[in-house]
Symmetry: none
Subunit: 138 residues, 4 copies
């Protein structure tokens, strides 16, 4: 399973994400997709936004779909920018703001994590903490 994430790795990422979320005091939704961009694990912390259930799955999906952070995609999707309109592709699954991060093993993307429940910068911080549990320093 070296080419993709295992459920144990996804759980380690979720635990690290929940820990980071508690440290900043915001209840989060966290989702992981595998190398095939299929949902692997999801949790909603008690009291976290209901609207984020959809968003985290799609943040993770987007990060793996284009092998880059959703935040980076967002800048290119602004009016006047080269990818304006990409948010309307993939049947409504593309998210173009912070909180989706690819997970790498070496140079290969083996999955992605999506986080939502706070401000975009908080979501991003928790997503990076979750991803780091799998790829320290990655």
């Amino acid at each position: 399973m070296k080419h993709t994430l295992t459920l144990d790795e996804a759980r380690a990422a979720i635990d690290a994400g929940c820990k980071a979320a508690r440290e900043i005091g915001v209840a989060m939704n966290i989702a992981l997709v595998d190398a095939g961009n299929n949902l692997l694990a999801f949790v909603r912390m008690d009291g976290a936004w209901l609207g984020s259930i959809d968003i985290v799955q799609n943040k993770a999906y987007t990060a793996r779909a284009f092998d880059q952070p959703t935040k980076q995609l967002g800048a290119m999707a602004e009016p006047g920018e080269p990818l304006y309109g990409i948010q309307d592709t993939n049947r409504g699954r593309i998210v173009i703001f912070a909180g989706g991060v690819p997970v790498k093993r070496g140079n290969a993307v083996v999955g992605a994590v999506g986080v939502s429940g706070g401000r975009p910068d908080q979501d991003q911080k928790v997503a990076e903490a979750a991803a780091a549990a799998i790829t320290p320093g990655g």
Copy 2:
């Protein structure tokens, strides 16, 4: 049922909303969702916009999904702002203009109201009147 709205509370909110709507002379659609973000009650006043049937349900949904007024969300969803693109999430159910308001009991969000049929400021006024019938001063 302290954790969510009852139908009696939803009806009181609708009555207060209809009263406020008549005072400003605009026929409105009004919807209430409960704590689980499921539709609890809906009315369309005689002659109110048909297009608002969808909008009020989604305004209420959005206000509960993110536990904040839809108006507030709109500012952050403009191009160049941190939540640009959020209006494309949740399968077309997010509304980012005025008229959706959470309903609180103490500090907990127990539901939300959505109003549409007039100008956004009129919708907002009626939504606040409806919510106030449940949480006076809230």
Copy 3:
């Protein structure tokens, strides 16, 4: 407004439906559409099935769409019957079991009611009680 239902009539139907539902001891969802087949009013009694939120709106829609009770349509939609497949039309809005009833004024259909929350025969009974509040004996 003789050609369609008013909100006051819809509310009278809902009150009559809720009364009938309490008499048989089942919490119901009740929806009314007008002559244009657009949602006019909806309530979910406390504790009623969440899955019925969608069903009652579509039962009312179906009853007005074909100006007949949904129960009657169901018999014709069985495998081998002339309307087999009708349940796949209208973008998933057709319901082919009991609980949707047209509302008439004289000979004209001016709207419809949908009820769900119990057994089909219970739904039907409550729907008929709701419709009768508008058209006594109808």
Copy 4:
């Protein structure tokens, strides 16, 4: 949070479900929804069917939507039976075969679990094991 499931309870259910799945030697997808029928937690065991990602979420959704096991609903949805056609309601989210089970606290349904990955009887067994972790003997 007595009225709904907590994430800790959902995790306990998932752990019990995974244990039961390993005992029968089938990799499963497992999902939990809360009292409001919103996704609370999800896991896909390594190697489990990708097609079950959708199914388990909808099995859990269906079990909470109608407060009964999905298996029970299936018998009533056969051609000629009173709920024939219910599988076409709720915008494609209704599942009418085994593997979805409500979770109760006392007499109240506080959520539901959905399991898919094996034969329906295996799914059912694992779903019951997961639910029992929250409501022993329930």
